[in-house]
């Protein structure tokens, strides 16, 4: 067999494998979209796979039948919480990352070590205590509590942003300081404008958090349905007593959430990769 024919054959095999695998990955998502247009509302299919009929009704119902499951309200709740917690967390993360990357002070090493240790406890171990503290402050079952919980501890997630700041040459800072800038000015007017990719990353990750979390939200909101976020609400559509009527609504609601998240994700893909590989990937 000639070299060229062999290359052709191996490429053919690769195309076949990639084709099959792509189907495996795309089909469930396509199926979710199909189910969201299904006429029959229950989850069971009774011996057939494709729906018997298609309708836009599931989507319309999400926005019109709002007495027990108020999807538009949940959407606005999540949007509000996401925007507020995103602003606070991004500010926190940038502040901590800059301090630990650039400034030198006695407590720096201990702080880095403590942050490392805190990160190794399972996340929701502390949820119960947080709930009771919020209750003490009269904030349980409110959206404000969610904002606080999502953004309060955000400073611990400084690591990736610090990695980015570390790659900006320190000589720039020193030059600015020699020219009489204060350290605040080097942070605000020098480092931040040079860091748009990592700021985008920080903004988008913190914005996306509230759309997919339901553990914290569930513990804090309990039965306050009006203040549910999208993820929590959708999860409850699959409760045993609701699933037969709301399964297709769940699919429709999930598709609607997935669209903005997908767009945001495609947007920050490159920054995400740079973040987790510590800037090892350039280009």
């Amino acid at each position: 067999m000639s070299l060229r024919a062999r290359a052709r054959l191996s490429n053919g095999v690769i195309y076949a494998i990639l084709g099959v695998l792509s189907l495996v990955w795309v089909l469930p998502i396509a199926y979710l979209v199909i189910l969201s247009f299904k006429v029959e509302r229950g989850p069971t299919l009774d011996g057939y796979i494709m729906p018997k009929g298609y309708t836009l009704g599931n989507y319309i119902a999400l926005f019109t039948e709002t007495t027990s499951f108020n999807y538009p309200q949940w959407f606005m709740n999540t949007l509000l919480v996401a925007i507020l917690s995103c602003v606070i967390s991004t500010a926190f993360v940038l502040m901590v990352a800059y301090t630990l990357s650039r400034l030198r002070f006695a407590a720096r090493r201990p702080i880095i070590n403590v942050a490392l240790i805190l990160g190794m406890f399972p996340g929701f171990m502390s949820v119960i205590a947080i709930y009771h503290l919020l209750k003490l402050a009269g904030l349980d079952k409110t959206l404000a509590a969610l904002v606080l919980v999502y953004s309060g501890g955000a400073g611990l997630g400084y690591y990736i942003v610090k990695g980015f700041f570390d790659t900006i040459p320190r000589a720039l800072d020193e030059a600015a300081l020699l020219d009489g800038a204060t350290r605040w000015q080097t942070f605000y007017k020098l480092t931040l404008p040079m860091s748009t990719p990592i700021i985008t990353y920080a903004v988008l990750t913190s914005f996306m958090g509230p759309w997919v979390d339901f553990i914290l939200a569930g513990v804090i909101m309990k039965d306050n349905y009006q203040s549910y976020t999208i993820a929590l609400g959708l999860f409850h559509m699959l409760d045993r007593e609701h699933i037969t009527t709301y399964y297709t609504s769940f699919c429709a609601g999930a598709v609607l959430v997935a669209i903005p998240i997908a767009v945001l994700f495609m947007f920050m893909q490159k920054n995400y990769v740079e973040g987790v590989t510590g800037g090892a990937v350039k280009g």
Binding site: L118, A129, L133, V149, F214, V219, F235, M266
Partner: protein
């Protein structure tokens, strides 16, 4: 008026000390931390020493009025907090309460009279809160003493102590770290450290479903829970060791299968001569963009007895007669969650590795080809070492993440199928999902906290170990 008086007193004190540093004191600003406080106690004058009782007195005496009054306000505020709220909880933290909720039948009025008992959880939580507030107060207190002594030294050297405005501007320059870390630190302490300390303490109590406040009290039991979990209680220790074993198996499989398969697919996409690279990558990455809880819940439905996959197998392909128990058979469920997790995880690996693969210097391959290296050899000697070098930290975080991978298990099987041999656990439960069950469904907080601490120890051990291994191997590597 009072301010004026203070100012005069201070003025005299300054006048008396002007021009001479306290005898024997070091010729420098007060040291950091407690040694600075000790210096203030040894070498401070009257105004400085009065600050030990009246916080901020020394500052006010040196005409730093706003700073001094702020310190004083902190002292007053702390005392109010302690008397009005903190002390009643702090004083009972050693017993966690002794008075039980009581219901007494009153013959005369023919009613039950309820006397509220102690609430152990409130005592512990607010006691811990009070300890935190006290530590914070102590830090401010020490800072105020150093500030008083610093003001004394500055005045003694004939200079003017810093004005409030100067102090404020230093927060944007010399002390920028305090400004930038202040709020985030408060957030982390309030929403991470404080709750964590509370939960860690619960591991040393008997706060289980039989000791639920406000009706019941719970108290300290020392290391009893750890003893239970390791050998004291056969059912609990069986459950723990089985779940620990499965957690580690799961983490190994989930991490390395994802890594290997993801890298192979990325290599295929990136191979020279393969077209439509963007399309292939998009197909895989699309699944990341859909929130994991949505896809996982969909998968659970599809894998159920009447789900799409069983219908496909029975009615369309006629491979099986009865539904396959993908999620309810103990062994099959474990295989299924690992495979479904591959579906979730592989796209991430593809995303990350394809960027790195494109980054490997092409001349390395060129040189290898000229030397006659076959593709397999090229992969072993160039691609793999390079990849491992760049992605080791990623692998470690993935491994830790998988030990704590709540979503995959919770949404697919909720830890089930449940087992009677297990204490409130199921065959696919990880330590974290077991912890979740014990907290949310069964209120066995003490056991849950004990498990949380053990998870922490496992994660810490793994990262220490791998960190040391990779730190030594990195020196040998020549990439970078």
């Amino acid at each position: 008026m009072a301010k004026n008086d203070n100012g005069n007193v201070g003025g005299q004190a300054v006048g008396a000390a002007a021009g001479q540093a306290p005898r024997g004191a070091p010729e420098r600003p007060p040291a950091h931390g407690l040694s600075g406080v000790a210096e203030a106690a040894r070498f401070g004058d009257i105004a400085t020493r009065l600050s030990f009782v009246l916080m901020g007195f020394g500052c006010v005496a040196r005409r730093q009025f706003i700073k001094g009054l702020l310190f004083f306000a902190v002292e007053i505020g702390y005392l109010f907090y302690l008397i009005g709220f903190g002390l009643q909880y702090l004083s009972r933290i050693n017993t966690l309460g002794t008075k039980l909720f009581n219901e007494v039948w009153d013959e005369k009025d023919q009613i039950f009279i309820n006397t509220p008992g102690d609430n152990s959880m409130q005592i512990l939580l607010f006691g811990v809160l009070t300890i935190f507030v006290t530590v914070a107060f102590a830090l401010v207190y020490f800072a105020s003493l150093r500030a008083a002594y610093r003001a004394q030294l500055t005045a003694a050297s004939g200079k003017r102590p810093a004005t409030f405005l100067e102090d404020l501007t230093s927060l944007l320059d010399r002390n920028l770290h305090s400004t930038l870390l202040g709020l985030p630190a408060v957030g982390v302490i309030a929403f991470t450290v404080l709750p964590l300390v509370f939960m860690v303490l619960l591991a040393f109590t008997n706060f289980d479903r039989a000791h639920q406040p406000p009706g019941n009290l719970f108290t300290w039991v020392g290391l009893g829970n750890f003893q239970d979990i390791f050998w004291g209680n056969p059912q609990k220790s069986t459950t723990f060791f089985h779940i620990l074993g499965w957690t580690l198996i799961w983490a190994v499989f989930a991490t390395f299968l994802n890594y290997v398969f993801g890298m192979v697919i990325a290599l295929m996409i990136n191979k020279k001569g393969i077209r439509l690279k963007g399309l292939w990558r998009f197909c895989f990455v699309l699944s990341i963009a859909v929130p994991a809880f949505v896809t996982l819940l969909l998968m659970r439905q599809m894998l159920g007895a009447q789900g799409a996959i069983n219908i496909l197998l029975q009615n369309v392909l006629h491979i099986t007669d009865a539904p396959v128990n993908f999620l309810t058979d103990p062994f099959l469920a474990k295989v299924t969650v690992i495979i479904v997790n591959l579906w979730i995880g592989i796209p991430y690996t593809i995303l990350i590795t394809s960027g790195i693969l494109m980054n490997i210097p092409a001349d390395l391959y060129e040189a290898a080809r000229i030397d006659g290296a076959k593709p397999v050899r090229q992969f072993r000697s160039i691609t793999l070492p390079y990849m491992l070098f760049v992605t080791t930290p990623y692998l470690i975080t993935q491994f830790i993440g998988n030990i704590n991978n709540f979503n995959a298990i919770f949404f697919l099987t909720e830890g089930g199928p449940n087992s009677l041999d297990y204490y409130q656990g199921g065959k696919t439960d990880l330590l974290v999902t077991w912890l979740y069950r014990l907290t949310v469904n069964f209120q066995d907080y003490n056991l849950a906290s004990t498990i949380g601490i053990l998870v922490f120890i496992v994660c810490g051990g793994v990262s220490l170990l791998t960190f040391n291994l990779t730190a030594s191997s990195k020196k040998e590597e020549t990439f970078s």
